[in-house]
Amino acid sequence: MSNVVAFLTRRRGGRGWHWTDVFMWAWLIGALVLMFGPALWLALSSFKTPAQLAEFPPTLLPYATQQATVEGYDKPLNLFTTKLPDGTTRVMAEVRRVGTVSQLVDPKAPSEIVKVNIADRQPVREIRFATENYTQPFEHFDFLQYLKNSVFVTVVATLITLLTNSMAAFALSKYQFRGRNLVLLLIVGTLMVPLSVLLVPLYSVISAVGLFDSLWGVILPTVATPTGVFLLRQYMLTIPDELIDAARMDNASEWQIYWRIVLPLAAPALAVLAIFSVVWRWNDFLWPLVVLSRKELYTLQVGLNTYAGELNVQWHFILAMTVVTMIPVVLVFIFLQRYITAGIAGTGLK
């Protein structure tokens, strides 16, 4: 044990605690709370009932009043720790409440009704997760549809991105042809004009080709990512040309060379692009907001924003659906975070 403490508190050069060490740990611990805390708080809140969400100050964990079925009453009754007129304190079940007077019975002896002031009783609370926040939006709202749309957009866009970007990257890394630099320059150029600049004309193009208000209209403008072409091209440049020449000797067609040799060798780069693409497309907001007008086509992000923008925000549903929207990204974070950070550090793209 003392070894562990010694290891954890080991300082550079064996010197004692410098103020920078204190600052460093304060910064890191503070960051730990600040980076995960908000999302955790949202997740905890998403299991609270609307009544609990309205409480101020809020409790950390989701609570609900404990209930019990009492003989002679159809519905389960709420339990209260009650200060009885004779001075004793007991757990009682509330039958009804009239003004400031509460009528309670002993769950074990339900025949006798006791009347006390509501100030003399405290609800018995237990931790209960309001899972109906999660099930109801799927039953009563279009959230299942939004989820399907988001999954469709993410999967299809990622597949098309991988295919078209890798084909272009192959041509740009393994062929010498006139105009290659022009094509490269065009692609670099697009890094300068983000979607927010092209909003209006892109909308008119989408309308002109008949893709307005369709999921394909969301997908297609996003798939020719310049960053994807670059990432793959840089990686394919490291594949030795001798390999390709040898395959040509063996009478392999160009398509076979791309499919059988280059793609498998570029798998690590494809994996990075796939992860990026999934996160990008899952999180896209502005463009789907512009293109989609029918509610049944909304993606999760657009649907969430719409419900959160209503006059009477139903926070218990919004919070739960935000958690659902977060899940894929959290999974990516837990399992694939290493690849993304390596990809960013290596290329500077996001």
Partner: protein, 340 residues
């Protein structure tokens, strides 16, 4: 790039495998095409899908944007619109004093310009300072560095809508922040409906969401600085502050410049997370350029695509200048690197 590993291979293979049959089917016709056109033809074939999509959805809109900005009306079909020359630009730029949006014809545009300008300056400053401190800390010999690096990276992956909602939930009147203040005996504050605090919240939340990304790039730069320089400084008994100003900062400078410009480019386009957080309000106090373009182009009843296109071209011009500066800095770095 250090990504080659067993899991990476597997993920890549799993993605490629299901469509393998498709590849086999199109091989035969492609062989004919290859025989007929040769290598150049094959290059064209491989480029075609990407460049077709690129041409239709990026290049064409880019050109059309200029046409739009010279027309008026609220029709989206270009031939239905009437040519007005530079009128939209004149309308945007007509101003009594550029320092006071209320004297301008398009007061909302100028309000958005002012807001965006202020946001860019404050957000990028805070973002760079915070990311820099974090990167310096992560560059020390600390236990579990990759864990801590991941901690800062978590919000980067969250969608802007989720980020906006998470913070709306915390900052709302009955939210977590106010209840904590209340328990310490302070008065609750209207974080999202007060002009000043809503703007501050927009800056803070966007820094929270993006600092992990910039920390990562700065950390990569810090780790490229040769260790022996620090060892030499330590042997000479140089004070840590001096080490930072004389070794770390100058050697990190190329990297830092790229990061600053990247942060500027992103900040100019700020939209989603602040839009979900505040909706541009209260009033117009968090209305930014992208939201202005979106609302003038699509959302408002009196939509004016021509005006939105003109505004987006002005914003695009700023971005192009920033990107050119970035490329220039990058090229200078490369040259320097070659000389050393």
């Amino acid at each position: 790039m250090t990504i080659g590993s067993a899991i990476g291979q597997k993920i890549g293979a799993a993605i490629v495998a299901p469509i393998g049959w498709l590849a086999a089917i199109i091989d035969a016709p492609l062989k004919l095409w290859q025989r007929a056109t040769g290598t150049t033809g094959m290059a064209a074939f491989f480029l075609a899908p990407n460049m077709l999509i690129f041409g239709v959805f990026v290049l064409a809109p880019f050109v059309i944007n200029f046409l739009y900005s010279t027309t008026s009306g609220n029709a989206f079909f270009l031939p239905d619109r009437s040519f007005v020359g530079a009128e939209q630009y004149q309308r945007l730029l007509e101003c009594g004093s550029y320092l006071d949006p209320s004297t301008c014809r398009e007061d909302l545009f100028w309000k958005a310009v002012h807001n965006t300008g202020l946001f860019v300056v404050l957000q990028v400053t805070l973002l760079i300072v915070v990311s820099m401190i974090t990167a310096l800390i992560l560059n020390r010999e600390i236990v579990g560095r990759s864990f801590w690096r991941a901690v800062f990276f978590f919000p980067v992956l969250l969608s802007p809508v989720v980020v906006g909602l998470i913070w709306r939930w915390i900052l709302q009147r009955q939210g977590l922040l106010n209840s904590m203040l209340y328990q310490f005996g302070y008065q609750p504050t209207e974080w999202l409906t007060d002009r000043f605090w809503a703007f501050a919240a927009g800056i803070t939340v966007s820094v929270w969401a993006h600092m992990g990304f910039f920390t990562l790039i700065l950390l990569a730069g810090l780790q490229a600085i040769p260790r022996d320089l620090y060892e030499a400084a330590e042997m000479d008994g140089t004070r840590p502050g001096r080490v930072f100003w004389r070794i770390t900062l100058p050697l990190l400078m190329p990297n830092l410049l790229v990061v600053i410009i990247l942060a500027l480019i992103r900040a100019v386009q700020i939209f989603d997370e602040v839009y979900v957080l505040t909706g541009g309000g209260p009033g117009t106090s968090t209305l930014f350029l992208t939201q202005y373009i979106y609302e003038v182009g699509f959302a408002s009843l009196l939509r004016n695509p021509g005006l939105a296109a003109a505004a987006s071209i002005l914003m695009g011009a700023v971005l192009v200048v920033l990107t050119l500066v970035q490329l220039q800095v990058g090229r200078r770095n490369e040259k320097k690197g070659a000389r050393e």
